[in-house]
């Protein structure tokens, strides 16, 4: 897709539009759904899409659209929490390792290597499994691995920026290490972090839904993964229950990948194909 100078590719616009639609769905869930997600209607159990229930009803007759809409809330909330936590922790660790160097750098990078050697989703499953299924534990389980990528990225950025002339100049006029890192280094190191955060938000949404699908997610609020797990048991009689939550997961992840791709092209001209 050829890009006009200063313009957006059509795929970037599709991604941004999809993402905005998901955010709107999450925010407006109580307004645009007529049923609450937990309201049962046993007579309508497993019924396919109808006028009153555009996505059909689940095994207890609950409205699938309402559950998908509220599930969007849960997923986006978890994604934003996990990405914020991991960016904060990873940037702090990476900046400290890169700027201070020495034993601190060695120690932090050793821990990073060990975490990188561990398959991420497996650790998240194991952690959520032993900690117990709820929202807080899910966020912890997904965050434990996530900071590592940012730490490595930021450390490399800091190492390359540390000896630049403007940084040396800032040090020469007496700026302390906090000021140098916060005012002069980090603002110039953040572009790849933003790109990485977009892609990892997509990863978090898949991981979070996987855990919910396996029964390791929050039990009290509707989630895409939880709904999909229920639907997997009724594939023959009520395929709509599994279809819609999965479709929304895919669209959200696709949107984040599209936005991430175009952010990378905009912020990091070197990686442009």
């Amino acid at each position: 897709m050829r890009k006009q100078p200063g313009g957006f590719t059509p795929t970037a616009l599709i991604g941004a539009f999809l993402l905005a639609a998901m955010v709107a769905l999450a925010l407006l869930a109580p307004v645009i759904t007529t049923d609450t997600p937990l309201q049962t209607d046993l007579e309508g159990a497993l019924r396919g899409p109808t006028d009153g229930h555009p996505f059909g009803q689940d095994r207890l007759g609950r409205d699938v659209f309402a559950q998908v809409a509220y599930g969007t809330r849960a997923s986006l909330l978890i994604a934003v929490s996990v990405v914020s936590l991991t960016v904060l922790a990873g940037v702090a660790a990476g900046a400290a390792a890169g700027y201070v160097g020495g034993a601190l750098d060695l120690g932090i990078m050793r821990v990073v290597d060990i975490f990188l050697a561990f398959p991420g989703i497996l650790l998240a499953i194991a952690l959520a499994g032993v900690l117990g299924p709820n929202l807080g534990n899910l966020v912890i389980a997904l965050s434990v691995m996530g900071w590592v990528g940012y730490a490595r990225l930021v450390r490399a950025q800091v190492l390359s920026l540390r000896e630049r002339e403007y940084v040396v100049a800032a040090r020469a006029v007496g700026a302390g290490p906090w000021r140098v890192v916060a005012r002069h280094i980090l603002p110039n190191a953040l572009s790849p972090v933003i790109v990485q955060a977009t892609f990892s938000a997509a990863g978090v949404i898949i991981a979070e839904s996987s855990l919910s699908f396996l029964g390791l997610g929050p039990q009290s609020v509707p989630t895409w993964g939880g709904l999909l797990a229920q639907g997997a048991a009724y594939l023959l009689y009520a395929p709509h229950i599994a279809f819609f939550p999965g479709l929304f997961i895919m669209l959200t992840v696709l949107a984040l990948n599209l936005v991430g791709d175009s952010l990378r092209d905009m912020l990091d001209p070197k990686s442009r194909p």
């Binding site: 290597d113 499994g129 999909l228 395929p239 999965g246």
Partner: protein
């Protein structure tokens, strides 16, 4: 060869780190793991007995030393649920996981290599566009959704393939497709990018100028060099396949380590949880190590 020796040395702290992480898993359980395993109605004597059996009544340092010592003897403890050694239980499930991962890899390669090469040769034309859109959709599709959708189509509507379980070769098809799709999407992008790099090289122009047929240029000169980075990705992704298999196995009730892990979590069989995580993680570490070493052997530039 120096490279491999150094990598082997670096492997030790990594493996030790993985073991330590797995050891602490059980100690992260909120509350008393023994009480969780036996339930609230268990007698104090039973609780004490199990606690002693698991060694949880000892100081943490001693538990850690015993954990590592046990591993050295191939002893991962006893499964609480199966009443058998953890290693024996996992040993029974591991071949199924390896088979699934290998089949998924084979599927991914069969799709990704031709599609990636075609996309590179027809750059910016229709096949390329379709390949890129397809791979974007492929990486965005969660496998616990793709699996059920394939079941609806191939098992219920068409009646061609079994829904779940492991009986005969036909039962392998849907799980392998499900697990391999995301990987094949990644490999399409890799193969395409790698081919595009190579297609711009001088030696290809030389080959063309000497009058070699286009198909020979691609097959004999371009492909061989383009596949090197792809080999690395294949190795690194094989480890990811093993952990991705946890979810796919649960969709299809495939009797591998992933299904075992979730059963163990549900049954609060913590020694078995620990064992499953350990085995998958160690496979992942070793496959990555082998890939690194292999890459160093193939490409002299990274040997130092």
């Amino acid at each position: 060869m120096i490279g491999i020796g150094r990598r082997l040395l670096l492997l030790f702290p990594t493996v030790l780190g993985v073991l330590t992480l797995v050891f602490f898993l059980v100690h992260l359980i909120p509350g008393d793991p023994v009480e969780l395993m036996l339930g609230e109605t268990a007698s104090r004597a039973d609780l004490g007995q199990l606690r002693a059996d698991l060694g949880l009544d000892r100081p943490l340092g001693e538990q850690y030393a015993r954990f590592l010592g046990g591993l050295g003897r191939g002893d991962l403890g006893r499964s609480f649920f199966y009443r058998k050694p953890v290693l024996a239980v996992i040993g029974g499930a591991l071949p199924a996981t390896a088979l699934l991962a290998a089949a998924a890899m084979a599927f991914a390669l069969l799709v990704a290599l031709p599609v990636g090469i075609l996309a590179a040769i027809r750059r910016n034309r229709l096949p390329d566009r379709l390949a890129l859109i397809g791979s974007l959709v492929g990486v965005s599709m969660p496998n616990f959704w793709l699996g059920p959708m394939l079941i609806i189509l191939f098992s219920f509507r068409l009646g061609w393939l079994p829904v779940s379980g492991r009986e005969g070769a036909a039962s392998l098809v849907l799980p392998a497709l499900t697990l391999g799709t995301a990987l094949s999407a990644i490999l399409v992008r890799m193969t395409r990018a790698s081919m595009l790099d190579v297609l711009g090289e001088d030696y290809l122009r030389t080959a063309r100028a000497k009058g070699a047929r286009p198909i020979a240029v691609i097959a004999r000169h371009a492909l061989r060099n383009a596949l090197l980075p792809v080999v690395t990705i294949i190795g690194l992704q094989f480890g990811a396949l093993l952990s991705g298999a946890v979810i796919t196995e649960n969709v299809f009730a495939w009797p591998g380590v992933g299904t075992l892990l979730i059963q163990a979590i549900t049954a609060r069989d913590y020694p078995l949880v620990q064992g499953c995580v350990l085995v998958i993680a160690l496979c992942y570490v070793f496959v990555n190590f082998l890939t690194d070493s292999l890459y160093a052997l193939i490409d002299p530039r990274v040997r130092t």
